[in-house]
Amino acid sequence: MTLSIRQTLMTAVTRCTLIGALATATPAFALDIRIGYLQFVPDQGPVLSNVIPEPEDAGLRGTELALADNNTSGKFLGQNYLLETRVTDSEETALAAFTELQDAGIDLIITRIPGQTLRKVVESADDKTLLFNAGARDNALRTASCHANLLHTIPSHAMLTDALGQWLKQRRWQELFLITGQTPEDKAWAEAFRRTSKRFGLDIVEDKPWTFDADLRRTASKELPLFTQGDDYDAVVVADTRGDFGEYVPFNTWLPRPVLGTQGMTPVAWHRVVESWGAAQLQNRFRELSGRNMNSEDYAAWAAVRAIGTAVTAISKADAPAIRDFLFSDKFDLAGFKGRKLTFRDWNGQLRQPIPLVHPRGLVAQAPFEGFLHPESEMDTLGYDKPESKCRINN
């Protein structure tokens, strides 16, 4: 107790003297780096399993943390990071807010908006605006409709399902029962998984849509054992991105089999249970800031703002084209707490990254796995590799 008082006193004293110390250690010029954050998350509609709601400020809090991280480094270099936030509730207001940010001269913008809104944002963006997608997992944004100034820090559906596929393959759990929900996002996830299963030689022995309607007069947990009747399978794969019925699948399958996909064991960009490679410190900082656990959207937004910070530290410039050049140069690597240096794929702007496979209270494994080889980077065994993508945003 006496210690903490003493420490507080001491801190006050040293912080006073520190201003002088910093002045001598800091370059004379000052640089302002202005970053925008744009969020629009469409209403998910009513879901069956809404016991644990998703945080509404996912993405925003990650942005704020990275801004604070950048500013701590920035104070030693005379660099000051500023954030303009726009949280909107419709596509129209999101597009209007984007224009507002641009008109205010902000050309480094983090977005957590759906893929279709993002396409419209990209169309209306001026030439030098650099966008960081921290929300849309659509494969098409990485394989066909890419844009030179659009980077992705959130993993694509394909990266996530490939992580799952590699894990299934190395466990030799190859016969799979796939259940797909009704939303376009569910279908996109399932489509990505079907590609994964071809890629890694897995076998989808049952492929059933979940159409649970009132005719059944049963609860989901009663319905699921019958729904999952079938010849033998090794695991059940669920594609239920908004968490409608998926939480009822584990332990309710006809055969005693593990459940994975969007529920059960899930591939993520980030999760509370990731703690190696210094991640414990990032988790602590995040919890202190937000009072909750860091999730994938928070991580993607954090990574985007930290990528900007890493570039600005190196080049001492705040303009978007110079930052873009640096991010695609061989000098850039992001320390992302995943045990590997993270870099951007030069063909489509996707951030290469390991994918943790988690269950709610533990880390199971982290892809890529040993034995899945690649001539350039093992992380490129996840998602659409260069020959599989039509994008060439740096040529």
């Binding site: 040293t14 110390a21 250690a25 991280d69 690597d333």
Partner: protein, 324 residues
């Protein structure tokens, strides 16, 4: 049988009553909350001792009577008495101490507080907190130059070396290095500082007189993907011949010519090698291998790994008492 038992018991008793007979290595086991004590003659673990939660950085007092232990999750530095092998005291450390370094005056302990972006300076005799210095995000590596002039802190997320004047406790210079700097090691004459950058994959050589980088090294371990080559701990031989660099999940230690900065060899050790220390006559180098839970012993003359010693879970730091 009885004679054998007697001899063993006698040996054990001698071992207990005069623990300073053989040269001893101390290893902190991060996930076991223990300290392993290795006899460097027999190269075997002679005792395992319970310490505070998540022990990471460890160092010896300049008179080699005490071992200081960063008990990170207890937010304290524990003082371990080498003669009695007991925790005899704790020091105020600030939150989440990870690495630290003791000034040659044997009094001022510089502690990196990883969660608070602060370096805390504690007087180990009065237990007074002398200063808390704002540094970058995730301060990690901590080193005081042998001449006592500089304390250097590495901040992992800010990717800087912060040069703290040990007279004023003020930062005088910040040097940007590769991503995630982890460790700083000074040459014996305090003229050169070696700093490792884990994610950058580099080691930066700093000329201390001018506080400028004079060289940057990178590593290529045959058959290992470059992003797994992650330099952490550095150890220099006192004759200025070699630098040993622990390369993390590449599971290799690089042997570097300390004059030309040329990599001479890569030695395969256990999984995720982080810290290393030379024994008293610098004949053997001990490395902590976190994932495989063991310590590798390298013969310095032959540059060969000669033994691995099983210790606790996730061994983090290793120091060898040269006087014992």
């Amino acid at each position: 049988m009885r004679t054998l038992f007697k001899q063993t018991a006698l040996a054990a008793m001698i071992g207990l009553s005069t623990p300073a007979l053989a040269s001893l290595a101390y290893v902190s086991n991060e996930k076991d909350n223990t300290l392993s004590i290795i006899d460097t003659e027999t190269q075997e673990v002679v005792e395992t001792i319970d310490v505070g939660q998540r022990p990471r950085g460890i160092l010896l007092s300049k008179d080699y009577t005490k071992l200081y232990i960063c008990a990170s999750d207890d937010d304290t530095v524990q003082v371990f008495d080498l003669a009695t092998r007991k925790i005899v005291d704790t020091l105020p450390s600030g939150e989440d101490p990870e690495q630290f370094s003791l000034h040659p005056n044997n009094k001022h302990l510089y502690i990196a507080n990883e969660d608070d972006a602060i370096v805390t300076v504690v007087d180990v005799e009065t237990k007074e907190v002398l200063a808390q210095i704002d540094v970058g995000i995730e301060p990690e590596g901590m080193a005081v130059s042998p001449d006592g002039k500089w304390a250097v802190n590495t901040s992992e997320t800010t990717s800087m070396l912060h040069w703290i004047n040990t007279e004023t406790f003020e930062i005088e210079k910040n040097i940007v290095v590769g991503q995630r700097p982890r460790h700083v090691e000074f040459s014996k004459d305090s003229k050169i500082a070696w700093a490792s950058a884990e994610i950058g994959g580099t080691v930066h050589i700093i000329d201390v007189d001018n506080l400028e980088q004079v060289h940057e090294m990178s590593f290529k371990v045959p058959g290992v993907s470059p992003d797994r080559v992650q330099p952490v701990g550095i150890e220099l031989t006192s004759d200025g011949k070699y630098a040993f660099v622990a390369l993390g999940p590449s599971n290799h230690v690089a042997v570097v010519d300390a004059q030309s900065y040329e990599v001479l060899d890569y030695l395969l050790v256990g999984s995720r090698v982080w810290q290393l220390d030379l024994d008293k006559d610098e004949k053997h180098l001990y490395t902590t291998n976190g994932v495989s839970g063991d310590v590798s012993v390298i013969d310095v003359e032959d540059l060969k790994v000669i033994k691995s010693i099983k210790v606790g879970r996730y061994p983090w730091g290793v120091v060898i008492d040269p006087t014992s």
